[in-house]
């Protein structure tokens, strides 16, 4: 009995201790954001801020120039929501087509879609930039948002897999009751794939919230900056060594990610375990 208890205890010490070690940098970032900038690296060995200040947050929140951090958060929220709507509409339509409809060329287009999954963004990055420049879309959200309305291979694949698990008898019953194909999609399938749509939404949120390359390429004026670009700006101004404010805003940028995770944890874990979405 005692040996068993000891074994259990050492398990928790090893597994728990390693988890703490792994997350220590994040605690350090959090606690440093409450320290006076000049002291952050002098007292780097201590987690406890002395004195404990919150002025870093006020200072970081002012942003730079005429734009407060609130503007960047609002810009990012608009960006996320527009991409999210695009993914939900387009991916569910496309996935329904692939999973449920018989038409000439279905296998061909499905194979093409799987291939685009593997395509590095770098290959299309430059021509896309030129196309969007020709359309006069530079320095706007359009190049970042419009493609989302034409589907995303990861989520299409996820939804196709999910729809395939729904019994076809439901579709057939609906057709007998007088539904047309669109009715089957909107009344039968759509309500049943809500869990997969939740996974799609959560990962769309993460990837869009974190996106740096897109905004760096397409957004030039600070009034349009996203949170990740604003943090990048903080870093470029690091010469003033205002680490406190930079750390504080880094923490602020992580808060929505944590909130979404803790609310929808189940979908996140299932999304990764079952489909291998990278988080």
């Amino acid at each position: 009995m005692k040996a068993k208890y000891f074994k259990k205890l050492s398990y928790h010490i090893i597994v728990g201790g390693f988890a703490i070690l792994l997350l220590y940098p994040v605690f350090w970032l959090l606690m440093s954001s409450f320290k006076v900038s000049e002291q952050i690296f002098i007292t780097a060995d201590s987690l406890i801020p002395n004195p404990f200040i919150i002025s870093n947050y006020a200072q970081g929140w002012e942003g730079f120039g005429d734009y407060g951090f609130g503007v960047f958060i609002k810009n990012t929220a608009v960006f996320v929501i527009l991409v999210l709507i695009g993914h939900l509409i387009s991916c569910s339509l496309i996935a329904f087509g692939f999973a449920r409809l018989q038409f000439v060329g279905r296998r061909f287009w499905f194979a093409i879609m799987i291939m685009t999954l593997m395509l590095p963004y770098e290959v299309v990055m430059i021509p896309q930039y030129i196309i969007f420049a020709q359309l006069d879309w530079l320095n706007s959200l359009k190049p970042l948002v419009v493609p989302a309305y034409f589907g995303h291979p990861f989520f299409i694949f996820l939804l196709v897999q999910f729809i395939r698990t729904i019994p076809r008898e439901l579709d057939e019953a609906a057709i007998i009751d007088g539904c047309n194909t669109f009715g089957v999609y909107s009344r039968i399938i759509l309500p049943l794939i809500v869990p997969a749509l939740a996974t799609t939404s959560i990962f769309t949120f993460y990837w869009t919230w974190d996106n740096l390359l897109g905004p760096v390429l397409y957004l030039n004026s600070p009034s349009k900056y996203t949170v990740s670009m604003a943090l990048n700006m903080f870093l470029s101004n690091e010469t003033v060594s205002n680490w406190g404010a930079m750390f504080a805003m880094s923490i602020v940028s992580l808060i929505p990610v944590f909130i979404v995770f803790f609310i929808f944890q189940r979908y996140v874990v299932e999304g990764i375990s079952t489909s291998g979405l990278k988080g």
């Binding site: 430059i126 990740s228 470029s236």
Partner: protein, 298 residues
């Protein structure tokens, strides 16, 4: 016949958005990029056809390119196996009936959750600073502090550590795979007196091999395209001494800093070819080590 036609129309109605998007945002850019890769193009003047010159220059006249390719290979082939190894070890540790597993799983996943963000790259940059906590920890263990931003080799390791730190999502996939291995296999092996390592190599690894294959491919592709950490940690320079100039970062700089759009497009195509070769090599090797249950063995 009519209903056949109707079915096709419905099909293309639903997947239509994909086809339109694919043609305009993927296929046209792919061919444009292929064309640009044979040209000298700075975005402001018309592209000038120079044949294979970009590719020749890359491998014969641009030591920075060769260097960038080399460190990217190191980053991928050291980082991905370490990451997957960690993921597997932790997944096995968590594959128990303990009630705390849910909590641990969440804690180990958190680095993956936030790992792609600029905030974490900023954090990484600061914990590896000369007076950062990593050096403090090294000193407390009696090891000399490392100048992570002074030595290009050390700087690359800083990026590799960041990638390994985010083993959580692979761990979740492994954990799901481990849970699907029937417990009776292990019990039977125990009855036959198999040791832990025998069970690991004859049950766990073969049963998990399809998942390992999937992870290896996805992680290799993603690692090859790593951009944000290198960009943030080096403040966009790829320094020190190009120590963090990963392929994507160098491509970005060639394209959008020096406006060598033709050269950058050629780089993107070489990248595509390398990724295709790597993926097919992993696939080809898979028939020697991946075990599919439904086929009744190898």
């Amino acid at each position: 016949m009519q209903s056949h036609m109707k079915q096709n129309l419905w099909g293309y109605f639903f997947i239509g958005p994909f086809i339109i998007g694919f043609l305009s945002f993927t296929i046209i850019p792919i061919f444009a990029s292929l064309y640009f890769s044979f040209t000298s193009y700075n975005l402001f003047n018309a592209p000038q056809w120079i044949g294979l010159d970009n590719f020749r220059k890359m491998f014969t006249e641009d030591p920075r390119y060769i260097h960038s390719l080399k460190i990217t290979f190191v980053y991928v082939f050291v980082g991905v196996p370490l990451r997957l190894g960690f993921a597997l070890i932790v997944a096995m540790l968590l594959n128990t009936a303990s009630r705390a597993v849910g909590l641990y799983r969440t804690l180990y996943y958190l680095p993956s959750l936030i790992g792609g963000s600029v905030a974490v790259a900023i954090m990484w940059r600061n914990i590896f600073g000369d007076e950062g906590i990593v050096n403090l920890a090294l000193m407390s263990m009696g090891i000399d502090p490392v100048r992570w931003f002074g030595d290009p080799g050390a700087a690359l390791w800083m990026l590799i550590f960041l990638s390994v730190w985010q083993f959580g999502s692979s761990m979740l996939i492994f954990l799901a795979g481990l849970k699907s291995i029937p417990q009776s296999y292990y019990e039977a092996a125990s009855v036959d007196g198999a040791s832990f390592f025998q069970k690991f190599f004859t049950i766990t690894i073969p049963m998990l091999s399809p998942v390992i294959l999937f992870n290896a491919i996805m992680q290799t592709i993603a690692a090859f395209m790593t951009f944000v950490p290198a960009f943030i940690i080096s403040k966009g320079t790829g320094g020190p001494l190009d120590g963090t100039l990963l392929y994507s970062l160098y491509l970005f700089k060639q394209g959008f800093e020096f406006f060598h759009m033709g050269y950058a497009s050629a780089m993107a195509w070489v990248m595509l070819i390398i990724i295709a070769i790597l993926t097919s090599l992993i696939f080809l090797s898979s028939k020697y080590w991946v075990h599919y249950e439904s086929e009744g063995g190898r």
